[in-house]
Symmetry: C2
Subunit: 343 residues, 2 copies
DNA sequence: TTGTGTTTCTTAATCAATTAACCTATTTAC
DNA sequence: GTAAATAGGTTAATTGATTAAGAAACACAA
């Protein structure tokens, strides 16, 4: 059986390659009768249409969107918030006939994907700084989400404001505070942060959240310094539990803990209860994200509700429409049983 | 600025395109000195190497693997078991420098992806039967997981045997049985199955699990017919809760319920407890999958533990190595507090 | 009849690479 | 000293399409 290409099919049907191409791509460039005849004969031969790889070489468009993740793919798909984001992206892409290529945030460059994608969505700050560099150098359009690269439009919520409001409405003057953040410094360890340099607020969403907390602490006259700050490298059980144990064994024991994700908050509460403490009576716990898990949990979490789904959808739309305008999406505070409002 | 291509760079450096190509691809086809000189000058010019799209057109390899999912991407990434599978796949692909393209199981064909991928991993039976057809017609290699397509190697666990053993070790002679399955029939509704035709066991993992249950029921002399069988269309809370309510309100009330996923089991137990029932005293519940959630749950689940992670890894390796031999992975029974063994 | 416009199709350049085949020197073998 | 082998390149065909430009055929108006 001969290979089926535009050329071989054209020879078989006795017309030029341009005519076959037009039959598939530009209906009004040839007579209706001829077009139908060509399509019918192609179907008979088993030719399903022009090779998409060759087309993309010529046209410069592949119909594939690269989704660059902050972390490895394997980590990301198991993270509830990130999965919801991917959900939103994929829904938009599916309705627009675009394909989704997942790019690990641990990779060193974009060499193996750059020629296959029409543009990038970048969700969070890639673990590997070289990748940010590669993104800032590519000629393809880029939309960043939850972080920023100079010159590219982004989708964000106002993390500083969200955390500021959260503290303002939950803190009490005599509180002993602790904060558990996510990847505030470049390390693969759970650690307490004293006076070390942290990741830049421009690339680090956690750093911006910290700025929001700090602003409110200062305004409320609450003592907070870096000895009360912990950071975990990944948003998973093992690190969260380790951080919880350390925070809970610290003296004086905090009376309120601000966690930068609902997952951290849930495991923190679990540990606290296991120690015989009552939440919120002995210690109040605040999360971030507004996940289903956090709301199903007992006690259900006080948290910042953000819609990761629509974040993904918006970002995808922006990329497809080549929009240059950054978007700031709304958030909502939810006061659950893990920490009542101070009002 | 001139466009950077092999050709333009070759002209600039005064050598042939073949030499530039060889400098990047076949180091021993030219002298070390010349190669280093070329690479250096390319770096100066900002040429990062041959265009991957053009290369793939010529070579017929893209370095991209298509992962065809049983359901939509947006549903799949939020499913714990499927996410773990993707995890395993991506880990293997990352270490082998391959890219991952996600393909929705709801799509109608593979036209927009087929020319961009070197092969397919297919996880579960796609929602759209046309897609199975497209897979069976593609000339690219295919590995199926948790289901079968004639002529392609697959990765499976022995679902029939697992379910058979599970029933054998949990059932009691006087039990009233109920089974809650996943997508046993082609519908988007939660429904009780009487005597309707179900999806073929070859494509349906749930149907094979049912065969295992039934074999053990028959051997143990336990009454089971299709009035005691329910099916939900997606492995999510809303459908699971609805099915749980229906099963729990059925008379006579079942004394043991076999759920085809841990998620179904968890929501079933939640509903049962909400009704004032005790698990396992009033009703015993059995899951499937061995998820973390199921083990963290109170009471923790009696279930079949399968390693989705390594399923993904194995499948990916098979695709990359062009292996033709199907693999049957091991499973393990776990007896938790939701249903004690009858031994 | 001639000129103009439209429809319908073809020719050939182009997209950015890879690679088999070929050509020169220079080494090596005997 | 001659033949064979090797190293280090180049030439040109090929991969499978798209598309600008051109040509042939026909209709219609002046």
């Amino acid at each position: 059986m001969k290979k089926l290409t535009l050329k071989s099919v054209a020879e078989e049907l006795g017309v030029s390659t341009a005519t076959i191409s037009n039959a598939f791509n530009k209906p009004n460039q040839l007579s209706r009768a001829k077009r139908l005849e060509i399509l019918e004969r192609c179907e008979e031969l088993g030719y399903t249409g022009p090779n998409k790889a060759a087309r993309s070489l010529r046209r410069g468009k592949t119909g594939i969107v690269g989704l660059v993740l902050a972390n490895s793919i394997s980590y990301t798909v198991n993270d509830a918030v990130a999965s919801t984001f991917i959900s939103g992206v994929s829904q938009c892409l599916e309705t627009n006939g675009q394909q989704l290529l997942l790019v690990s945030g641990a990779g060193d460059d974009l060499n193996n994907v750059n020629d296959f994608v029409d543009g990038y969505l970048c969700y969070g700050s890639p673990t590997n700084p070289n990748l940010i560099d590669a993104l800032s150098k590519t000629t393809k359009p880029v939309i960043t989400v939850d972080f920023n690269i100079d010159g590219y439009p982004s989708v964000n919520i106002d993390n500083i404001e969200a955390c500021y409001q959260l503290v303002k409405q939950t803190i009490r003057p005599d509180d002993v505070v602790a904060v558990i953040g996510l990847r505030l410094i470049e390390t693969q360890l759970t650690c307490r942060i004293y006076d070390v340099p942290m990741i830049d607020p421009v690339t680090s969403i956690s750093r911006r959240r910290l700025l929001g907390y700090e602003k409110a602490f200062a305004e409320c006259g609450v003592d907070f310094n870096y000895g009360q700050l912990w950071s975990i490298p990944e948003n998973i059980e093992s690190f969260a539990v380790r951080a919880a144990k350390e925070v809970l064994s610290n003296q004086p024991r905090p009376t309120i803990v601000y966690c930068m994700s609902d997952l951290i908050a849930v495991y923190f509460i679990r540990e606290a209860i296991e120690m015989g403490l009552s939440v919120p009576d002995d210690i109040r716990v605040v999360g971030f994200d507004g996940t289903n898990e956090g709301q199903r949990f007992h006690p259900n979490l006080t948290t910042v509700v953000q819609n990761s789904d629509s974040k993904g959808e918006r970002a995808a739309i922006m990329l497809l429409k080549q929009s240059k305008e950054s978007q700031l999406l709304p958030f909502a505070l939810h006061f659950g049983d893990s920490c009542p409002t101070n009002g």
